[in-house]
Symmetry: C2
Subunit: 237 residues, 2 copies
């Protein structure tokens, strides 16, 4: 799970913002758990891996720390975030507050093109659930989150969309740490139901289903403190 063992796709070509590209790759790696919570992300290694200077690597890590996916300690560096049970609760409390509203907004803006995009998304999700192997698991995690992000994009509020991107990514970390049953594949049926409600323009139902869905995901977590949160943190694990 060391970052040096990771392989990152494609070369960061383009004269576009390279720090942003690196951030995206690292975020994906964190979200689908190729990088475990607590993993050290040193500026030098990141820079070497992506073939940029520390300056750019540092900027990418700073971005991730704003998103809460990375924790930085002064003079010690950056680590994949290791959310405490309390943080985990706050992530889901935030989602319970925001995401039902997003569902309502999205219900009022669904077009046939959106419906098609959702169907394709759910198909993909289903395919990965059926497959075996760790790569399929990763893709499944990613796809499950992408459903929520697609919903947020349909809602048409870029601010809320960014909030949701952060919350979905952090949720993945939380589930990785505290999830009981490996994955939230239980959610697939619920996703389907939510899409149905959206398709029918039934905003209230979509909203209620979303709330339940979030509750179910959180119910699958074991947020009891195990060895005392301080120790856990202190050991970076």
């Amino acid at each position: 799970m060391n970052i040096a063992d990771q392989t990152f796709p494609a070369i960061e070509a383009a004269n576009e913002d390279r720090a942003q590209a690196i951030r995206d790759q690292l975020r994906d790696a964190i979200v689908d758990r190729r990088l475990a919570p607590g993993t050290k992300l040193s500026e030098g290694e990141v820079g070497t891996l992506f073939d940029v200077s520390r300056t750019v690597a540092r900027a990418a890590l700073q971005m991730l720390s704003f998103e809460g996916l990375v924790r930085t300690e002064r003079n010690r560096g950056a680590f994949v975030a290791n959310p405490s049970p309390e943080e985990a609760r706050q992530v889901f409390a935030s989602r319970r507050l925001i995401e039902p509203g997003i569902a309502i907004a999205a219900a009022g803006r669904m077009t046939p093109a959106h419906v098609a995009a959702f169907k394709a998304q759910l198909d993909e999700e289903g395919r990965f659930i059926a497959e075996r192997g760790p790569n399929a698991r990763r893709s499944e995690i990613k796809a499950s989150g992408d459903f929520h992000l697609l919903l947020a994009s349909v809602a048409g509020n870029v601010i809320l969309q960014r909030f949701m991107e952060e919350l979905v990514a952090r949720s993945s970390l939380v589930i990785a740490l505290y999830g009981r049953s490996g994955i939230s594949s239980c959610g697939h049926n619920e996703h389907t139901q939510i899409l149905e409600a959206l398709e029918n323009g039934n905003a209230e139902r979509a909203s209620a289903l979303m709330l339940h869905h979030i509750d179910h995901i959180e119910a699958d977590l074991d947020l009891r403190v195990r060895s005392g949160p301080a120790l856990r943190q202190a050991l970076e694990f």
Copy 2:
């Protein structure tokens, strides 16, 4: 309104994160309108003003751009954000979704100490409203936002608190650009009412009052596009 004309309090001493300190100062300057939307914030000038290298200044500006208070364009630099009417609507739509929930959460966690803090906050707000002069106006703007931030801190969810910090700051920019009646001092009474509801533990009422309060603030805006949004943006003004 040039940044070079600004004076920033205190020296950025401490071996703590200087970029963060600079970000805070710049944010305050933007929020209470010492820096107008569209103002150029060059790395060099910021660095000189705060007596740090461009590296640190750049980091501070990057942080502000994540918060949506600053817009950065590749190879062109950073500018105080100039939110479009659409962005303005999204800011308030986000607040309508989040802040009533925050009020509910806060209502369930109010302690006597919190009540005292709110009272002090409202007192200060009232004092600035009574005063004359541009400095009082600035302080009034700041205080009005601080009420909402205090509420968010009482709610006890640091994630939502950060979201609110961003939204309140961006609201100030929006009001500066699109506000009809100079300031939202109209809100003072409403703040008082909200506190009353919180004090009585009446979560539903606090939530409803907050929703109305946000609506009132937004109703004071004139979000009609004036000279075409493209032109406005193109002229950086």
